[in-house]
Subunit: 173 residues, 2 copies
DNA sequence: TTGCTCCTCACGTCACGTGAGGTGGC
DNA sequence: TTGCTCCTCACGTCACGTGAGGTGGC
């Protein structure tokens, strides 16, 4: 039997999280002590492990509550759906990134002391997690959605037509 | 001068959205008619255009309220920060996807009539937006984070060692 | 008179965090 | 007695959506 504080620490959760799970009926303590403290059983611990696991998959608590009652093959279906939901969210965020990038491009200035110079721009792209391969992907997307803007942008970066050709070709193949 | 309904339709927003923006002081109607209807001016329209644009970048309304008072170069800084915030969110979602994929793998069965067969699996990956190039990326990530599991997974898919070698090599170079 | 648009509360959503005020255990 | 853990409300967060009940305009 664990108290709420011990259980929280064991799982790296806050006590208010467990109080909340209790309040919505997701995880009720097995019993109470004579002084009304919550007492969590080993079964409670196992259930919490599952809850935490599903949370790691970005599944809503209401859904988790239902899932815990289902058979494995039904859960499989739900996880597949969740993959798609996550993909949609990622698409939305990617779209927001592109929107911002398009605005920032206008502030990239090749030689002069503009708001952003080429090196700064590269380091920005790097900082959002675009490594060598990610940049490739990014150029590819850019080329696909707006090839003319992509071309103009590479010129902004101070590249000569020869290098630009190489990049655009490398992307397309 | 536009009424709240007209303005909402013009921007594809709901009326309650505009009411909300009014209530938080983000966009107050310039004046009221004698019957207390909100009347939006052309300046209001321009401001709303900006609000909508920033919203498209995933920026919080509170932040938008501040941004509208700033000079361009300060906004540039904020947009760069926003890029990173978005990248963090994407990373979180990607992580959740990998967590799910690792669970689902256990249900992929090569020849027998398992929960998921190879073709179903491919179509799942396709449905979450992984096209030819995306799958390459996915294999790459997989190979990077857990090469052994990647190898095992390809065997699950019923591939022979020769093909597996090719895939893994292609990813690494 | 009938519809339509508008108005102002006020509550619900999601997953908690943060007090406030009070009580039991070592 | 002092700290510590625990308890139960209750309000705040984010960006609205959804009534409820009422009033002006064509």
């Amino acid at each position: 039997m664990h108290s709420i504080g011990k259980l929280a620490k064991k799982f790296g959760l806050s006590r208010s999280t467990l109080l909340y799970y209790d309040s919505i009926g997701l995880l009720k303590a097995e019993k109470r002590s004579k002084s009304n403290y919550r007492l969590y059983s080993n079964e409670n611990v196992i259930k919490l492990e599952q809850i935490v696991a599903y949370r790691q998959m970005g599944i809503a608590l209401k859904e988790i509550k239902r899932i815990l009652l289902l058979s494995d093959n039904k859960v499989t279906k739900i996880l597949q759906d969740q993959l798609i939901i996550l993909a949609d969210k990622i698409r939305t965020l990617r779209q927001q990134q592109y929107t911002i990038i398009k605005i920032l491009e206008d502030n990239v200035i090749p030689e002069k002391s503009g708001l952003i110079d080429k090196d700064a721009w590269i380091s920005i792209l790097r900082s959002i997690g675009l490594d060598k391969n990610g940049m490739k992907m990014w150029h590819k997307q850019f080329e696909k959605t707006s090839p003319q803007a992509h071309h103009d942008f590479l010129i902004y970066l101070g590249m000569d037509e020869e290098s630009i050709k190489r990049i655009r070709k490398g992307i397309l193949k």
